[in-house]
Amino acid sequence: MTTDFADRLLAVAVRALPAHRRDWGRAMVAELAALTDRAERRRFARGCVRAVAFSGPALRATTRVLVLLALSAVIVVEATRLRSVGVAVEAVGLAVAVLGLVWRDSRRDAVGPVGGRVARQWGYAVVLATVAVLLTTGVNDPSGWWLAAAAVVVYLAALLRITTRRADGIVSFPLVGALTAAGLAVWWVPMLLLAAVRAAPALTFPVAFAVVLAGAVLGPRVGSRIRGLISGLVAAGALLLLVFLAAVVTYRVAPGLAPDLFGADWGAFPKATRLEMNSVEAVDPYVADFLLGALVGAGLIIITERLVGRTGPAHPR
C-alpha cells in the first residue's frame, strides 16, 4: 500500500494528540483510508489537522512551549548579566533542569499524567518565583548557589511526583491547601506585626511540625491517617518554601522590619546601607527553611515511589 501527502500529513498531526485522544487519531486515519479521491483525501486530512491544532490540549501544549521558550530566554539573559561566571553557569544549569522537568510534565511516566492540575499550576508558580528570587538574591556569591539550585530541582521533582494521577489516592490537595494556608498565616501575620517573632526565625520549624501533625489528625476525614500524614508532609514542604519566599519579599519590600543586628556598632554607616545589611542578614536564617523543605520534598519522592510504585495507583488505608 502506498502513502500519499494526505496520509503523511495526518500521521504527523495525530502524533500531536494527547494520550487520552489517540483513539480519535486512529479514527481519523481510518476514515482517510476509506477515501479514494485524492482531492477529497487532501481536504479531509487538512480538516483533521485543523481539528487537532485547535483542540484544547494542542493549544495548551503550544502555549506551554511558548512560555518555556520565553522563560528560557529570560533566565539565560539574566544569567549572562551575573558577575560570577560560576553562578551564571549554575543558573543556566538550573534553567535546563527546570525546563526539562516541566517539558516532561504530561508524559505518561514518573511525572504524568497529571492528577492534581491546579496544585501543579500553583506549584509551578511558586517554583518559578523561587527561581526569580534566587536569580536576584545573593547571586554574586558562588558558594552555596549550586545547593540552592539543586533544592529547586528537588522541589520541582517532588511537585511533579505528587501531582500525578497515580498519586491521587495518597494526597488530599484540599487538605494540603488548607494546611499550607493556615500554617503560613499562623507565622506570617505575627511576623509582620511583632518584632519578637521576626527576631526568632526558628519559630517556623514548630509551625511546620504542627502542620504535619494536623495532617495526621485530620487524616480520617480525607480517607486515612496515612493520607492525612502525607498531605501534612506535602503542606509542610510547601510551607517551608513559602516561608522563605515570604521572608525575602517582606524584607525586600519593608527592610525597616528587619531586626537591627548591628546596633550602635554600625552608627557610622548610612541608614540605607544599614537597612540593606539588616535585611540580607534577616533573610539568612530562612535559607534553612528552604533547604529543609527540599529535604521534605526528597522524602516525599521516596515515599510516593514506595506507595505508588510504577504500576498503578495506591490507596493507603
Binding site: M28, E31, A33, L35, G47, A51, F54
Partner: protein
C-alpha cells in the same frame, strides 16, 4: 447554566436522532451535513466526552482497511437535543443544507 449547543452541534445530534439505532461514521456525517473534518471532529469529540454520543469501532471492515469509528446517539444526547428544540424550536441553519 449550560451553554446552548452550536448550530453545527445540533445538526449532528439531529442527524443521528433520525435513526438512533443506526451508527454512522464520521465522514458520512460530515458529507451529509456539509461540515468539514476540522469542524466535525471537535464536535464529535466533545459530544462523546460529555456522554451524549457513543463511539465504537466498526466490527467487520473490508479487507485492507482499518476499522472506522461509528457514532450513535445516547439518551443524554437525545435529551440535549430536546432541550435545545424546546429553547428555540424554530432554529434552523441554512448553511448546513437544511439539516435542521
Amino acid at each position: 447554566m449550560a451553554r446552548r449547543p452550536s448550530a453545527q452541534t445540533l445538526a449532528v445530534l439531529e442527524l443521528l436522532a433520525r435513526d438512533p439505532d443506526t451508527p454512522r461514521h464520521g465522514y458520512e456525517l460530515g458529507k451529509e451535513l456539509g461540515l468539514k473534518a476540522g469542524t466535525l471532529y471537535p464536535i464529535l469529540i466533545r459530544l462523546c466526552e460529555r456522554g451524549h454520543l457513543a463511539a465504537s469501532w466498526e466490527s467487520d471492515p473490508p479487507a485492507g482497511r482499518p476499522p472506522r469509528h461509528l457514532y450513535r446517539l445516547l439518551g443524554t444526547g437525545l435529551r440535549l437535543l430536546d432541550q435545545a428544540r424546546e429553547a428555540a424550536p424554530a432554529t434552523t441553519s441554512p448553511a448546513l443544507g437544511g439539516a435542521l
